[in-house]
Symmetry: C2
Subunit: 151 residues, 2 copies
DNA sequence: CACAAGTCGTTAGCATGGCTAACAAATGGT
DNA sequence: ACCATTTGTTAGCCATGCTAACGACTTGTG
C-alpha cells in the first residue's frame, strides 16, 4: 500500500491509518470465536455490559452500546427469550426498565469471553517477551486514549 | 473490572483481555465517522479491499472479508447499484466474476478513509511524542501478529 | 468424446440488528 | 390540573449474516 510508507513513523495520521486497519482485523479475528457461544453479536456485547458492569436501565444500555432505544429494546427482548437477562421495573419511576443478567447469562458470558480471549492469547504466547512488553505499554496508552474520548 | 488487575503486565491472557476491549471500542469509535460517507459498513469494507488491493473475483473477496459467497453477491450488487464497483466476466473461465472499483468508488473511498482516520489522528495529536513512539512500535508488533494469523 | 465430479456464483428464505416515526405511559414543573 | 419532558415500545424500513438448493461452467477420467 503506497500511502503506508508516506505516513510511517509516529506521525499522527500514519499511526491512525495503521491502527484503523489493526482494529478492524483484530475485531474480526476475535469475533470469529464468538460464534461458538450461539449468542448473536449485539446480544453478546450487551450481555457483557450487564455481566461486567451490573444492571442498567434500558436507555443507559442503549447509550453505552451506541444504539438507539428501539434497537436496544429488541436486543434485550432477545436476551430475555434466550434466558440470559431479565427486565425488572423500578419501584419509584414506572417508566424505567432495569435489565440484569440471569445466572445462566453470567455463565454463558464467562465461557464466551474465555473462548474469545484465548485465541488471541495463543498468538501472544508465540511472541518474544520484549514484544509483549511493547504491547503492554501501548495498551496503557490506548486505554487512556479511550477514556479521553469518553468511553 | 476486577479481573483486570489479576491479568496485568505482559502475561498473554491479560494482554489478550485488554486488547479485546481496546479493539472493540476503537472499531466502534472509528465506525461512527463512516456514517458520513452514506455507504453502509459491509460495502465500505469491501470497497476498501477493491480500492487498495485492486480487482478481485467475487469468491476471493468473500474469503478476504470472511463472509459467505451469497453475502458477497449482495454486497457487490449493492456497490454496483451505488455506482461504486463493476462486475466483469473472465475471458478464460466463464464461471468467474471479477469485481473492480469505479472511479467514483475510488473517490468515495478516499473521502471515507480520510474522515475515519482523521478522527483518531486528532486524538493522537494530543499525546506526548513518547506515547506515539510506543504506539508506533506496538503497531509493528500487531501487524506482524496479523500476518502470522493469515490476514 | 462423453460424462461424472467439482467449482463458482446466484437465488430464495430466514434471522439479526441498525435506523426513523409515531405513540403510550409516567413524571414533574408551573 | 395541565402541559412538557422523559422513557420505553411498536411498526416498518433496509442492510447483512447464514444455509440450502441450483444452474452454469470447467476439469478430470474412462
Amino acid at each position: 500500500m503506497g500511502s503506508l510508507e508516506a505516513h510511517g513513523g509516529a506521525d499522527p495520521f500514519g499511526l491512525a491509518f495503521r491502527y484503523n486497519s489493526i482494529a478492524i482485523h483484530l475485531t474480526r479475528r476475535l469475533r470469529e470465536a464468538d460464534t461458538s457461544s450461539g449468542v448473536p453479536p449485539a446480544r453478546l456485547s450487551a450481555l457483557s455490559v450487564l455481566v461486567f458492569g451490573g444492571r442498567h436501565t434500558l436507555g443507559d444500555l442503549a447509550r453505552r452500546e451506541r444504539v438507539t432505544p428501539p434497537t436496544m429494546t429488541r436486543i434485550v427482548t432477545g436476551l430475555e427469550q434466550m434466558g440470559l437477562a431479565r427486565r425488572r421495573p423500578d419501584e419509584r419511576d414506572a417508566r424505567l426498565v432495569w435489565v440484569e443478567p440471569t445466572p445462566e447469562g453470567r455463565e454463558v458470558m464467562e465461557r464466551a469471553r474465555l473462548a474469545r480471549v484465548e485465541r488471541l492469547a495463543e498468538e501472544l504466547r508465540a511472541l518474544p517477551e520484549a514484544d509483549r512488553q511493547v504491547l503492554d505499554r501501548a495498551a496503557q496508552v490506548l486505554l487512556a486514549l479511550e477514556r479521553a474520548a469518553g468511553y
